[in-house]
Structures are given as C-alpha cells and as structure tokens.
C-alpha cells in the first residue's frame, strides 16, 4: 500500500520554554500554536501522512529507550498514525508547560528510533522529524557523528523551529528592518548553551544537505505566518489523451489537462437528528399525488416521465429517450475552422474551466506538429474553433483553442463558447446619448484621478511591474472560513463560532497603500456626484397586482390555492411577502390584516396536509420578533391563533394544553403551536 510520508513532531515543553519577555507570547505558546496549526491542516486536507508526537522536558518519562538515568523526561505522546481530532484535542488540552529539562539530542534519538521501529516493513516516500525548541538545555556533542550517520542511513530529514531567526552570522548588524518586532536578535541575547546548540544544529543540517540544509530552519513567527492558511487540497491532474484533427487526414496526438476550474467544496453537509446526531435517524421521503381535490397518492410504479413542449406535455419513456437522443462518436477535438482572435469575445466564454492542450507525452513529432499550429495561430492572431467532446456520454461543445506561448513551454488553451440557445440579446438604453446622465468635464476628471490613485499595478524604475492584489494568490475564503469554523467547533463543541480570522479579512480588503492614496480623490467623487437613494414605493403596487385590485390578501390567497393555477409553494411565497409588507407598517390595523393572512395560511396548510411552509415561516417570523420590535404584534397573533384553535373541533383538549403550556406574556413558544399543528395534521391523515 502507498504511504506518502511519516513525520515526528518533537516539541520542547521544558521549563525554559515558558519564559517570555513581558507582553510577548512564551516560546511554549508559539510552539504549541505551530503544532496545532500544522495538525489542523493535516486533518482538513485529509492527507495520508502519518504523524507522531514526542515531548521532551516533561515531568514524567515514557519512551522505549529509557534505561536508568538515560533518556529521561521524554514522552512519546502519540505513535505514528494519521492525524485526527483526537490528536488536536490532546494538543489543546493535555500539552502544558512542564518543569523539567531534557537534552534535545536525546529527544532526537528517541524520534529516530520511533521512526525506524514504526515504519519497518512499510514503504514511505519521506521520513521527517520536526524539532521545536529554544535550545536552552546543555547537550553533549559526543555522539553527534553517529547520529548524523544514522540519519543519513535511514534517509531521515530534519526541520528545526526556533524562537529566533537563524541568519545572524551572515547578516551581522541589520537586525532591525529585516525582522518584525518581537524578535530577539539571535547573536546577542543567546546563552552559551544556545550558541553551542546552534552550532551543533548547523553541523547536523549542513552534513545532511550541504547546500540547502539551513533552509529547513525556521523561526516560530515565520512558520506561523506560513501555516495560517489551510492547505489547499491537491487534485492530481488527470490527463485527457485525444487527437486534434484538421480535416480528414491531419491528426495530432494531444493530451489535455484542466488548468483552471472552479474548485468546489469537497464535502457536503449531511443532515442529522438534532438529538441523536445520527444521519440514519433522518429520512426524507418524496411522495407523488394527483392534482385533484383528494390529492390521491400515486405509487412510484405508476409514474412515467414526460417532457414539456411548450404547453403540451409529451410522454416520453426513458427507453425511447435513450434511443432517440443525440448520439455522437465520442471523444473528440476537431477543428471546425480558424477565426480572428478578436471575434471571440472574452465575456462570452462559457463553462467552468480552461484546458491546457499539449502534445502527447514522448511524441516528438506530435510536439512539432502542435508547435507549428500554436505558432501559426499566434503569428496570425487567430484561434481554432473546435468541436470538443470529453467522451461518448458527455455532450459535445463548441469552443476556442487559443495559442499560449510562455518562456519555457507552449500549449493551446481551450475554453467553451456559447451555443445560440445560451445567448440573451439584451438591449440597454444608451448612456452616451442620454443627456440626463452625461457626466461633465469636472466629473470626468474626478473619476480620472480616482482611477490613477487606485492603480493596483505599478511599474518600478526598472520597468518591472508589481501587482499589489493578485487574486489568484488568495486562498478561497470560503474554504478557509469553513475549516476554521469546523476546527473551532470540533475542539470547542459548545462555544459559538469564532469571528473571521484577521489575516483572511485583510487579504480580501483593498490594500492599505491604495486606501491611503485614494482618500482625497474619493472625497472629490463624493462632492461631484450626488447619489440619492430613491424611496421605494414599488412593492405595494406589485402586491396589489398580485392579489387583484381590492386588497384582501387572505381571501385572494385562498382563491389562488383553490384554483391551483400556481404551485402551493409559490402562492405561499406571495402571501408571506405580502405579510412582510404589512408588518413593515407598525400599526394595529396592518397587524390585524397580517394575522388574518396567517390564519388563512394555517387553515389552507392544514387542509392540504402540507404544514412545512407554514411552520418554517412561523419559525422564522418568531425568531425575527425581537430584532424587528414586533412584540405587540406577536402577542396579538398568539391571542388570535388560540381563539382560532378553540374553534377547531378535532383536538380541543390538546389545544387547551397548548394554551396552558404557553406562559402568558412570553414572546416565544410558537414552537408549541407549531408542534400542535402537526399533530392536528397527522390526526386528520389518520382518520
């Protein structure tokens, strides 16, 4: 079986780690954060990588190498396994600063031993140990060369995470500006033990990798910055081999890859029972019924499929449909012709992806042929218009293949284009020919300077451009936020969700420099362009249209439900819109109208045995009562409803219970009413 890699996190929790300068986070806290963030990323990326956790400087000792006074105060906290929430919880709750000290080289040996024994017999691509310490403990260099030899032999790589940056020796004095605040200069503040340990570490790292060994030494702060993002979930690019054809006799072997595509959340939410938290306890059931007064249920076997052809419904069985449907020869990338590039408009790109098309691997001739096409198109400023079909069962598309030439490679870039049916030719009033909206010279120049002040791309004196806002470098905030919340909830099940992380918020905002620069031009815009919100009186008119000329929404609602010309859901939606409009007037007369509507709503829902819409509306209405200041209305509603219920024969007793159950004056408790309605509905069904 395939295992990616194994990693031991080895953290110093000893006494010196909890020291800190006043106002600074302790080394322990920073190291713990790094470990948390790292494990968190592993969990959400669902990697197969195996993790172990070794702590040193602990009060107790628990490791296989421990004999007498050797390898003391080192604990193997967790053996190699895939990261999970258990580990995250343990880190959160069980790892504290302790009061002992241990030799970091001893800890390293424990880690090496762990890797060697626990990976025996299995194949790993990479074995790695990450050591987080402040090097405050003296350690002996006696066995250093043996350790290095063993590391090399076992193919184990090392990473160090230290509270101070490493690059002191090289850059001597320039501490100040290369590092942010809160960093101690390594050279000066370090104890002799630390100096000593540093040179041992360098010796190890350079022995393992002469050139880049020291690149694997990180400061706590840098590491945290790198780790604040959740890891993107890597998708292995799938090759799509095909033939590019021009006419009947010229074929070029190609291979396509998705290069850009809208990445969606990989997991969906499952629905669970609020009590048991089990998804098996919730079942969604769909039943079919005739559109008659009794809503006669129809069994699944008696249902066939049909399609609309305008006002006609045509029965069309799946078998017939399959037989008569459009069929094609499958996978294809066939040139229909070539066209000027500027005739293919950017804003008419369709689909959700861009493919990069290369010549087939290891086929030099295909490579040359495709290169000739790419370069010909590029020089002529043209594109190939192609028929593209992914495979036999997918629908063919029309699309454009653009030439794309970079310094180190070239390819065609395929993007889907619209079909006639996809286009909507909208006409909009001209802006230039309309004197009322034509901006004046002053206004235009205000906009001109605004644009100048807000340019995100700048050219420096070397003619090199610097882009201050690269969208394609920003991680999708949707995923970041989701993982943040999931993690938070997993570790703190009863706490409310945390706010969006500051770094993420900042990444989505206008860069500080630009905000500074555009302040004055924005003032000018404000001065020169009066913008006034227009009072909305429209909704009333439209609702009057919905429900005819004399406004009696409750009656109209009942009529509409009876007519069945519109689906029940739609009618309900219209009604609730109307109720919301009525409620926007804080006035008893309107309140009473709303209540009549709600009563009608409830009545019809009971009649149709469809309480879902009603209940969910009442729920949401209830939850909005405090924020909208509708307490008075709510009281009126409750009184009105109870009166109505009293006149309801089926469950007279129960509704007395309901009345009794709701303490007078309390705003809440429509839950009782809702539950009750359902029992009413159920009982109707049973009879």
């Amino acid at each position: 079986d395939f295992r990616a890699s194994a990693l031991v996190l080895c953290m110093d929790v000893g006494f010196s780690m909890s020291n800190s300068a006043p106002g600074d986070e302790s080394h322990f806290d920073l190291a713990k954060k790094i470990i948390q963030k790292f494990v968190q990323r592993q969990v959400f990326a669902e990697t197969k990588e195996e993790l172990a956790l070794v702590l040193f400087g602990t009060d107790s000792t628990k490791n296989p190498l421990h004999r007498d006074d050797q390898y003391q105060n080192i604990i193997v906290h967790r053996h190699l396994m895939v990261a999970d929430f258990e580990l995250l919880e343990e880190i959160e709750n069980q790892i504290h600063p302790e009061s002992q000290q241990a030799d970091w080289l001893d800890a390293l040996v424990v880690c090496m031993d762990l890797l060697q024994t626990e990976t025996k017999g299995k194949k790993y691509d990479r074995l790695n140990i990450a050591l987080l310490t402040n090097f405050s403990t003296a350690s002996s260099s006696d066995n250093l060369d043996i350790i290095i030899g063993n590391l090399k032999k076992a193919g184990i790589t090392l990473q160090f995470f230290l509270p101070f940056p490493l690059d002191e020796d090289e850059q001597g004095g320039e501490d100040g500006d290369s590092r942010g605040p809160g960093h101690q200069g390594a050279g000066k503040g370090l104890s002799s033990e630390q100096q000593n340990a540093l040179s041992m570490m360098k010796h190890i790292m350079l022995s393992l990798d002469e050139e880049e060994g020291l690149d694997e030494v990180y400061s706590f702060r840098n590491a945290l910055q790198e780790l604040h993002m959740f890891k993107r979930i890597e998708t292995r690019p799938m090759a799509w081999p095909c033939l590019l054809t021009i006419g009947s006799s010229l074929s070029i072997r190609i291979v396509g890859y998705k290069a850009v595509t809208e990445e969606k959340r990989k997991k969906t939410w499952m629905t669970i029972d609020a009590q048991s938290h089990q998804s098996e306890d919730v079942k969604k059931e769909t039943v079919y019924c005739l559109d008659d007064d009794n809503e006669t249920e129809v069994q699944k076997d008696n249902i066939i499929q049909g399609f609309r052809y305008g006002s006609d419904i045509v029965p069309f069985s799946k078998v017939d449909q399959e037989q008569m449907k459009y069929k094609h020869d499958g996978k294809c990338f066939a040139v229909l012709g070539f066209s000027k590039r500027n005739l293919v408009q950017r804003h008419l790109f369709m689909g959700n992806q861009v493919l990069k098309i290369f010549a087939a691997k290891d086929d030099e001739h295909a490579g040359i042929a495709l290169s000739a096409l790419i370069r010909a198109l590029d020089e002529l400023k043209m594109v190939a218009v192609v028929r593209y079909a992914y495979n036999r069962s997918s629908n063919p598309q029309v699309g454009a293949a653009f030439p794309f030439i970079k310094k180190n490679y070239e390819c065609l870039m395929y993007v889907q284009l619209p079909f006639t049916e996809d286009l909507r030719q909208f006409t909009f009033p001209s802006l230039e020919n309309n004197k009322k909206v034509t901006p004046s010279e002053t206004q235009l120049s205000a906009v001109d300077s605004l644009i100048d002040s807000m340019m995100l791309v700048e050219e420096d004196e070397n003619g090199e451009t610097d882009d201050l806002f690269r969208v394609h470098h920003i991680p999708n905030p949707d995923f970041q936020r989701l993982f943040q919340c999931l993690h938070h909830r997993a570790v703190n099940p009863s706490a409310p969700l945390p706010p969006i992380e500051p770094w993420l918020k900042a990444a989505l905002e206008r860069p500080e420099v630009i905000s500074e620069r555009c302040r004055a031009p924005l003032e000018q815009i404000k001065k020169n362009f009066p913008l006034t919100e227009v009072e909305k009186k429209k909704p009333l008119k439209t609702s009057a249209q919905i429900y005819g000329k004399d406004v009696d929404p409750a009656r109209d609602f009942c009529t509409l439900v009876r007519q069945k010309s519109l689906p029940f859901g739609e009618v309900c939606q219209q009604l609730t819109q109307r109720i919301e409009q009525l409620l926007s007037n804080k006035n008893t007369q309107y309140y009473m109208k709303s209540i009549t509507c709600i009563q009608a709503f409830r009545e019809q829902s009971v009649k149709l045995e469809n309480a879902e819409l009603y209940n969910s509306y009442i729920q949401s209405l209830k939850s909005s009562v405090p924020s909208r200041g509708l307490e008075v209305f709510w009281d009126l509603l409750r009184q009105g409803m109870i009166r109505l219920l009293t006149s309801f024969l089926v469950a007279e007793e129960k509704e007395e219970e309901a009345m009794a159950a709701s303490p007078a004056g309390d705003v809440g408790d429509v839950d009782d009413l809702v539950c009750f309605h359902i029992t009413v509905i159920c009982s109707i069904r049973i009879f």
């Binding site: 669902e46 929430f85 998708t235 290069a259 850009v260 969906t268 029972d273 306890d281 969604k284 059931e285 039943v287 079919y288 019924c289 008696n302 249902i303 049909g306 052809y309 305008g310 006002s311 006609d312 069309f316 799946k318 449909q321 399959e322 449907k325 459009y326 012709g337 861009v354 010549a359 001739h365 490579g367 069962s393 629908n395 063919p396 598309q397 794309f404 490679y409 870039m413 006639t420 286009l423 909507r424 909009f428 001209s430 802006l431 901006p439 605004l450 644009i451 340019m455 995100l456 969208v471 394609h472 999708n476 905030p477 909830r489 555009c518 913008l531 227009v534 010309s565 879902e612 729920q619």
Partner: protein, 609 residues
C-alpha cells in the same frame, strides 16, 4: 430529480450547482411575459420582391415562427398571440371587431400552434391566408382594441406586456382622420395599462415614413434617444429576426446590488446574465393511466419514531479526522457570510493584466439602476468612459446575494455598439469576469515542448488561412437540445420521424479537405516520419527496453546533401533524435543539450542553410 439527471449528465466537471450559488439566469419570476404579434394582412404585405425575394408577410411569418419555437425552448410559460388586421374575414372572441382575425389568442405556445404557423409559410401559406382571412379594410383602432381585450381574459398575472405591429404601410387608413384618431386613443389606452407597443416596419417602395403616422402609436424608447424611430425599415429576414429578438427578450436582472466605491459612495447596479448554458429541461412525472402531471411532496421524518421533523429538530454535520462536527442550520449559512451583498471596489488594473485563461464561469453584465439610487447612471457612465479610455478594468469583491462567500471580479468596460441598421449589438456597461482564487488554479507538470521551425510554422499558416471563417457567437446551435426538441415535436405532432437536425458543430470534413488540397500532405511530410501514424500509440519504445541494449541498432547515416535538402524543405524535424545526434557526431559538432531543437539548431548553424 436524480433519475433524469443521470440521463443528461454532462461531464463530471460542470454539473454540480453549489447550493444555488450559480448565477442561473432565472430570477424569481413574479408573473409571465406576454407578446402579441399584430400583423398587417393587407394586399401590400403579400407583394413579392423582384428576383423572388420573400414577401413581407412571408418574412414576418418566418420570424413569428422562430419566436414561437424559441419561446418553447427558453420560456414556454410566456404567452403569445397572433392577430391579423386588414383582413376580409373576422374572427375574434365576440366577433365585435370587423377585419380583425385572431389567429392565436394569448396562450402558451405549443406544438399545434407551430404547425398552424407552418401552414402560413411560403406560397401555400399565402394561399391559405387568402382563403381563410383575405385582405380587406383596415382599422388599426379596432385591432388594438381587440388586442386589449385579449389581455383582460387572461387569468395569469402578467409581468411584461409587449405588442409588436408588423406592417409595410406607413399610412394605414389612407388619411381617414377618424380612424387615425381612434387608433391613437386605443394605443394610448394600451400603453397606459403597461403595454409596450413596438413597430416592426417593413420595406415598401418609396420608403417607410414613421413620422407620418406611427410615431404616436409606438411607445417611446427607454432612453429617449429616439433610436427606435431612426431605424430603417427591414428588408431582410435576418435583420427583422434580430430586431424582433432584441425587443422580445425582457431583461431580468439576477440581482440588484450596490457598487461601492467607498463607504457612502454607493451606486445601484443590476446584474444581468447575458449568456447562460441552456440545458435540456427536466422531465416531468406523469400518472401512467391518464398522462396527467403528478405533484411531489417531500417530508422529513424521524426514522425511529416516524414523526415529522421540524427544522429545529435537524442539524448539519461533516466528518473530518474521524470526528463528526455538528452545526446548527443557521450556522451553516452564517459561515458563508462575509459581506452584505455588494460590489466592493478594490482598485484598477491595466487591461493586459486580465489573463485570458483566468476563467471559471460565464461572465455577467452590469448596468446602472438610476431608479434605485439617483445619480448612479451618471457616475457609472463616467467610470465606464474613463476605464475604457485608460484601458483599465476595475477589480471588485463581489457578493451577489446574502450568505454567499465573496468572489473577486474584473469589471471590463464595454462601449455601446450599433450596427448599420442602428440596432444595438453591444450594450454599454461592464462585463463582470469572475477571477479564480489560488485553489482554482491547478499545478501541472509542464511536459517538454519541442518547437517547430519557421518553415513548418509557415506551412501551418497556409492551412490556417485556407480554413478561415468569421466566427459568430450565435452561429452554433446545440445539437443535443435541438435533437431533444425535434423528438418531442415529432411525438407531440404524431410525426413518423423527427426532423433531421443539422449538427452545426460537426467539422465539414470534405469541404475542408477540398479547400486544403495538397497542403495537408505537405505539412505532414515536414513534421511526421514516413511510417508515423498518430492514430495508434507508438509501440516501438517498449522493444528497445526489453532488448536490454544488446540488440542491433541499424546505423542509418544521413548524408550531408540529404540534410541540406531537409533543411531547405523544412522537413528536418522529421528526423529522429538519434539520427540527428549521429549527424552531429559525423560533422564533429558539439551540442550543449540533447533536445531535438538544440540538435537541429546546431546542425543548421554548421551547415549554414
């Protein structure tokens, strides 16, 4: 849904719609659109042009038919009516109007109606029209009145009412001022009830003078530019079709939101979907016995107790690292909330910074809504003008609706364009291009790319030039959808077999071959070895591995002359890498790399082509 989904699934990649996040074209419709075709059936309409050009009547019927079939596909719930005026016969609900013939009253278009229209096409259509309706007196006032009555009999709520008059007579009543006045009154009445009246004036000898009579009949143009009336009369089918389609589609915004330059500087803008992937519509479920449509009801209940579950009794969960993480339903929504809906301006970038391949979904269109925030159109117009002058686009953070995570977009300026007939071909506004996040860009291992020589490229240029055509975005119909509707049509109309569909996205191979002539072979000779067949996977590679290096390698030497010939003909790329290497050795050339192009370059340099 699941069943029919499986039946027309596209590719794995483009189906899944993220909980309504996708910008689908249809925003919550609050009523139906209606369209009345009011067509002049006087003798003048039937006059054929010289050289057998279509009569105005025939042209009109073709366009009307195409609107019917388009509506069936795009919005079957819209209502259409077809009314003729200036007929001899009369046919209308209470037969209270003379010389007005209601061919179709306001209703959803269906198969029968399309058939009816087919009957009115061409010569036989002319004959049928003459037999059933004939040509007689004209009273536009009666015709408009009759149309007004059509609306009042409708039980649906109508959201958009449009009436199109097709005529080639600019003075319909021949100077009868009573009739003129009556028609004006009726037109005004209609307009007051919200009906838009358009004129589709057709060519007649001497030209069509709109100002003579129709100026006061039609609704004023939205922008008061009188663009509509400057239009020339239509004399071509395509023009008429374009003009009708442009008017016929009601603009519906996906959303109306604020474009926010800074706190307190908010414009109102509408987002419009101008290109939306059309799909085969879903199947409807029918009761086997009667073919009537059934309704579905969905209930959520507790498996153990069998009782219905309220929303409050349901939670949501995901599993990570073996742990089930539980959230309330409203928390699941809250996680997706970053901003209130709006377009937040970040800054501007030069146009060349907009990468062609940074495409993740179809663009939408942005246009100001002055009736929401007065002054929006002016600021918008200034921004549009300056962006387009300075050749920059705006970068915005876009939250189209509540509880939708933001996406960044590029607002690309688009200036208004009109064609010769003064019909708008591009509206003024910004195209909103969605930009990818880091997660949307995939890391690919870039394969080795050999580079073609200029001679090979030139040969390909000849091929490309031979197959040039003028791409038009509306030129390709979707064969899948077309076939589907042909099938339905055949079933609905009891036809023996569905009409043939032209697959417009099939390469016209024979024509291409003829146009290309010998070019293909010439190109192939330049790039492919003689026995190279791209249709089969190369199997040769395997063998050399198996042989363990001991097998005989036939030494094929290339003479200097052959090499020079290859260079001259641009066919040197056809030689294999080992051959080229040998050639280099032969001439004592030291080559830095072992890539084909490097070898070729070295040889070319040495032999001096």
């Amino acid at each position: 849904m699941a069943e029919w989904n499986a039946f027309y699934h596209n590719e794995d990649e483009d189906e899944e719609q993220e909980e309504g996040e996708q910008t689908s074209g249809d925003y919550k419709v609050t009523g139906r659109d209606s369209l009345v075709f009011l067509v002049d059936a006087s003798k003048e309409m039937f006059i054929k042009g010289e050289d057998g050009e279509l009569s105005n009547f025939d042209m009109t019927m073709q366009v009307v038919r195409s609107v019917y079939t388009t509506k069936i596909i795009s919005s079957y719930r819209d209502l259409i009516a077809l009314v003729f005026y200036g007929t001899e016969q009369s046919k209308n609900p209470r037969n209270s109007f003379k010389h007005v013939y209601v061919y179709h009253d306001l209703d959803e278009p269906g198969a029968t109606r399309v058939r009816d229209l087919d009957a009115l096409l061409g010569d036989k259509g002319e004959k049928l029209a003459a037999e059933t309706m004939g040509s007689g007196e004209t009273s536009l006032g009666d015709a408009l009145w009759c149309c007004a009555n059509l609306y009042s009999d409708i039980k649906y709520r109508l959201s958009h009412k449009r009436l199109m008059i097709f005529t080639c007579r600019d003075d319909p009543h021949g100077g009868n001022s009573t009739k003129d006045r009556q028609a004006h009154t009726k037109a005004r009445d209609l307009k007051e009830t919200g009906v838009m009246i358009d004129l589709m004036h057709l060519m007649k000898p001497g030209g069509f003078d709109v100002s003579l009579y129709f100026r006061d009949i039609v609704s004023p143009a939205e922008d008061e530019s009188e663009l509509g009336l400057q239009l020339k009369p239509c004399d071509k089918l395509d023009d008429l079709r374009k003009r009708v389609l442009a008017k016929e589609q009601k603009k519906r915004s996906l959303a109306r939101i604020k474009l926010i330059l800074d706190e307190g500087i908010n414009m109102a803008v509408g987002l419009y979907a101008t290109a939306v992937t059309a799909r085969k519509p879903g199947a409807v479920k029918l009761y086997r016995e009667t073919n009537e449509q059934v309704r579905s009801k969905t209930r959520t209940f507790q498996t153990q107790t069998g009782s219905l579950l309220l929303p409050s009794e349901i939670k949501k969960a995901q599993v990570y690292g073996k742990k089930k993480i539980v959230m309330e339903r409203d928390e699941v929504d809250a996680i997706k909330k970053f901003d209130d809906p709006g377009l937040y301006l970040i800054g501007f970038k030069p146009m060349e910074k907009l990468k062609l391949h940074h495409h993740i979904r179809p663009a939408i269109f942005l246009y100001p809504e002055d009736d929401q925030v007065k002054g929006s159109a002016c600021l918008f117009s200034a921004l549009l003008k300056k962006c387009s002058e300075k050749n920059v686009f705006a970068v915005c953070r876009c939250t189209p609706r509540r509880n939708i995570p933001p996406r960044f977009v590029a607002l690309v300026p688009q200036k208004e364009e009109v064609d010769d007939g003064k019909v708008q071909t591009k509206p003024p506004g910004f195209n909103v291009i969605f930009l990818p996040y880091a997660d949307d860009i995939r890391n690919l291992d870039i394969p080795h790319c050999p580079i073609a020589s200029p001679i090979q490229v030139n040969k390909m240029k000849e091929i490309v030039s031979k197959l040039r055509f003028k791409y038009r975005s509306d030129a390709f119909e979707n064969p899948v959808i077309q076939q589907h509707y042909r099938n339905l049509e055949a079933l609905a109309l009891d036809m023996v077999a569905p009409e043939e569909t032209d697959d417009l996205i099939m390469p016209k191979v024979e024509q291409m071959d003829i146009r290309l002539g010998p070019l293909i072979d010439e190109f192939k000779n330049m790039v492919y070895p003689f026995n190279y067949n791209p249709d089969v996977k190369p199997a040769a590679k395997r063998k050399t591995d198996d042989g363990g290096g001991s097998e005989k390698k036939p030494k094929v030497e290339v003479s200097e002359e052959e090499l020079k010939n290859h260079m001259k003909n641009g066919t040197i790329g056809k030689l294999t890498v080992p051959l080229l290497k040998d050639a280099c050795k032969q001439f004592g050339i030291r080559v830095a790399g072992s890539k084909k192009q490097e070898l070729i370059d070295a040889l070319v340099a040495h032999l001096g082509s």
